[in-house]
């Protein structure tokens, strides 16, 4: 019998509409109760064997959930491993992640999915659910063994950053996944329009002479995916929405009852394409950083719930891979450890979102996308809890990342708000300043 009390924090549990100073009681790894703040003089409580965590001045909320995290194992261990990626997730406040299928070989068969789960169990950090590939080798041609992937634990299907460009293949995938009630997480991008591009197509691309990726490349595919979701009744989740028109299309589709959800990354909310005049490869991500009017539309979409989830779109890349010319550098930002502070700067500080709204996009939103029960502090749920210091000012130091990679544009930048503790199954798996060796 183990008992923990997270005491006196501001408990925010969007699923249950809670935002109050309260105590969170954890019994045997599960949430026991949320009560008003109790004093040690209270005689009706048995204080023996209760481990007390003082959360005064902190925010206590359900552990975050990320709908797609690139763990890079097997095949790209120079970038990340399951152990380092999940440790990084904990440091970012995440207790549950879906592992992207873009490993080598691709997770397009049952044993590959089981390997991800096995490595996650060995790492014993956060919960990991594999995503299976939609098509064999993510080539967009033939369906992967979706049924067997489900048996192997695949929680959803995604070809990662490879769009399923063939509409007939996508149609069949949406129909087929309906049988298993699993979503397809799609990267909506027309390959012919985005090929060779490194930056948002617009004034900055023109000025810097960099090949652009037009907003239309995403909008067209978003429109197609919505039409196919309507046609088939399948569930499509659009990853990394970055354009105003895509947000509007998704908003209208949701109003029409079509099963489409979408997520957005913190860097697309904080940064615009103007940073590209540094020619710094750290800013190179896919989709590219867009212009200010798109950022405004993303924030509006996040606020009204059109975009129900925020994802770090964690793309760890070994140091040397980014130390090259801009056009040959790979896309991606190692972002899971800096997600919260970047969100605070982009959303909380300007007053766009309340803490409760932000936490909802990191918990109940992604949980609904993946069909998970996690993401709440309801009694009886596993005690996956994140404790945040909303006032702490700190400087991001990439050299201290738990991720194996350091490719962040935020290195050396000062932020407010930090994850100070992460619990999974009632066990403290991450604590700020306490280094836990990877098992």
């Amino acid at each position: 019998m183990s008992r923990k009390l997270i005491r006196g924090g501001r408990v925010i549990d969007p699923a249950n509409g809670i935002d109050a100073i309260a105590d969170v009681w954890i019994q045997d790894g599960g949430i026991d109760a949320i009560t008003s703040v109790r004093e040690e003089s209270d005689a009706d409580i048995d204080w023996r064997d209760t481990e007390i965590i003082n959360a005064s001045g902190k925010i206590v909320c359900p552990g975050f959930i990320d709908t797609h995290v690139s763990l890079r194992e097997p095949g790209y261990e120079e970038d990340e491993s399951t152990a380092t990626g999940t440790a990084a997730a904990l440091a970012g406040g995440f207790t549950t992640i879906a592992a992207q299928s873009d490993t080598c070989p691709v997770v397009d068969n049952r044993s590959a999915a089981e390997f991800i789960r096995l490595q996650a169990e060995r790492a014993r950090n956060c919960r990991v659910y594999p995503l299976g590939a939609v098509t064999k080798e993510s080539k967009g041609e033939e369906l992967a063994e979706i049924g067997q992937l489900v048996q192997g634990g695949a929680i959803g299907f995604s070809d990662a950053k490879s769009p399923v460009a063939n509409s007939e293949v996508m149609r069949r995938a949406l129909e087929y996944t309906r049988m298993f009630n699993r979503p397809i997480l799609h990267f909506a991008m027309v390959p012919e329009l985005s090929e060779g591009g490194v930056i948002h197509e617009g004034f900055q691309a023109t000025r810097l002479g960099l090949r652009g990726i037009p907003a239309a490349a995403q909008d067209i595919m978003t429109g197609r995916d919505i039409a196919l979701a309507e046609l088939t009744g399948g569930r499509v989740h659009l990853m990394c929405v970055t354009t105003a028109d895509s947000v509007e299309r998704i908003r209208r589709a949701q109003a029409a009852g079509i099963a489409v959800t979408a997520d957005v990354t913190p860097h697309h909310l904080l940064l615009t394409d103007e940073v590209m005049d540094s020619f710094d490869t750290m800013y190179k991500c896919n989709p590219p950083l867009r212009s200010a009017e798109h950022v405004q539309a993303l924030i509006a979409g996040l606020k009204d719930g059109t975009l129900s989830a925020i994802t770090a779109d964690h793309q760890p890349l070994a140091f040397e891979k980014k130390q090259v010319e801009l056009d040959i550098a790979p896309f991606g930002i190692c972002g899971i450890e800096t997600l919260l502070p970047v969100c605070v700067k982009a959303l909380i500080e300007p007053g766009h979102l309340t803490w409760s709204e932000l936490i909802s996009r990191l918990t109940v939103g992604p949980a609904a996308v993946l069909g998970l029960k996690h993401g709440t502090l309801s009694t009886g749920q596993p005690a996956d809890v994140t404790v945040i210091d909303p006032e702490e000012q700190w400087t991001v130091k990439a050299s201290e990342f738990r991720s194996r990679s350091r490719n962040t544009p935020f290195d050396g930048k000062v932020f407010t708000g930090r994850v100070v503790m992460t619990l999974v199954d009632g066990e403290i798996r991450y604590q700020k300043g306490v280094s836990v060796p990877c098992s």
Binding site: E195, G196, E201, G202, F203, A205, T206, R207, L208, G209, L210, R211, G212, S278, F279, E320, Q323, V324, E325, L326, D327, I328
Partner: protein, 369 residues
């Protein structure tokens, strides 16, 4: 602009150790008058060294693009190029203002013309040059671009002239190297010395830039020459029109201060100078226009168009020219053409850039000591 940059110390004259200070721009006319009095080569050198008109603002350690230069800085380069033009009889006299300086030409993209021009410019100023030509992609060699550059720098190089197919590659070098970096063309971004030599050529022909109307014709999208021309010309007060197939005019280019025209014939009567940009077939992804004859028909400069333009229309082309595409041979070789002047002027402008960068470098080193 630091105050120190306004009164730059003169370049060290190696051997004789002649140092001098000059405040104010050298009076080129006085200079020209006195030219007759000076006959011997040695006396010429002394005169040139003692009269470098470099009191204009500069203060740049690298030359990465014209976007970041002010109108005053641009004028400093043009004035120095003009000075070299007069003082060296069009660049034919050899000086030794850069004696002891090692200039490395780091060309990751083929270019015989620009590399030769830079080499000659450096040698005319007495610098040593080393040429390094690599395959276009760093990855294909197994050594990264930065490692290659660091290796060359470690051999004692003071200045790196870099040509690369990736926009921003010289900026990457500038962050990693101690040497001064001179952008000799980075992909479709900028080609500052080409921009400067085009502007210099126009200024020499017309005596001014301000108030002139310049049309950049052709493949604007893939042209680094267009971008450098736009930044320089707009800052110096010219009206700039970009003209070409709609597929080759990139988004929002009007925000760079230019006008867009799709018909060359419509704008021809208003234009003082046309700069005919090469169609960069090698940078194009797929076809941007239906056929070469159609392009030549709509945007090629031919004798007929010359007759319909202003009588003193200037025709520039950064080259290498595709005869029959951007312009017909009669135009290329005709009286309006300044194409070969551009090549000669390129040498002078590059001499000016190398001088200014070396001067700034020495100033900074003096400050450190």
């Amino acid at each position: 602009m630091s105050p120190a940059a306004k009164t730059l110390p003169l370049l060290r004259k190696s051997g004789q150790q002649v140092r001098g200070e000059l405040n104010g721009i050298a009076d080129a006319d006085r200079f020209a008058l006195e030219a007759g009095k000076w006959q011997s080569r040695a006396k010429w050198r002394l005169m040139v060294l003692n009269n470098l008109p470099v009191s204009g603002p500069w203060g740049e350690r690298h030359l990465l693009g014209l976007e970041r230069l002010s109108a005053e800085q641009l004028t400093t380069v043009l004035d120095l190029a003009e000075h070299y033009d007069r003082a060296t009889f069009g660049g034919t006299q050899r000086l030794d203002v850069l004696k002891g300086v090692v200039v490395a030409n780091l060309f990751f993209e083929n270019s015989t013309r620009t590399r030769t021009s830079f080499s000659l410019a450096a040698r005319r100023l007495g610098a040593d040059t080393v040429d390094f030509t690599a395959s276009s992609s760093s990855l294909s060699k197994g050594e990264t671009f930065i490692d290659t550059a660091l290796t060359i720098e470690a051999m004692g190089v003071d200045m790196v002239v870099c040509r690369h197919r990736t926009p921003g590659a010289p900026h990457l070098l500038a962050r990693h190297l101690k040497a001064s970096v001179l952008n000799a063309g980075d992909g479709t971004h900028e080609h500052p010395t080409q921009g400067l030599l085009d502007i210099y050529t126009i200024r020499k022909a017309r005596g001014r830039i301000s108030g002139l109307t310049v049309a950049l014709v052709g493949d604007i999208r893939h042209s680094r020459v267009a971008r450098s021309n736009i930044h320089g010309l707009v800052k110096l007060g010219a009206r700039v029109i970009v003209c070409g197939p709609a597929t080759l005019i990139p988004s929002d280019i009007t925000r760079m201060g230019v006008e867009i025209a799709y018909s060359l014939d419509d704008i021809l009567p208003e234009v003082d100078c046309v700069n005919l940009l090469r169609v960069q077939f090698e940078r194009q992804r797929g076809a941007f226009f239906p056929s070469i004859p159609e392009y030549a028909n709509l945007f090629g400069m031919n004798g007929d168009r010359i007759r319909r333009g202003k009588s003193d229309l200037l025709v520039l082309a950064p080259g290498p020219i595709n005869r029959g595409v951007e312009l017909t041979p009669d135009v290329a070789d005709g009286p309006h053409s300044l194409i070969l002047n551009q090549v000669s002027n390129g040498l002078l402008v590059r001499m000016a850039c190398l001088t200014l960068l070396t001067q700034e470098r020495r100033r900074l080193q003096g400050g450190e000591a």
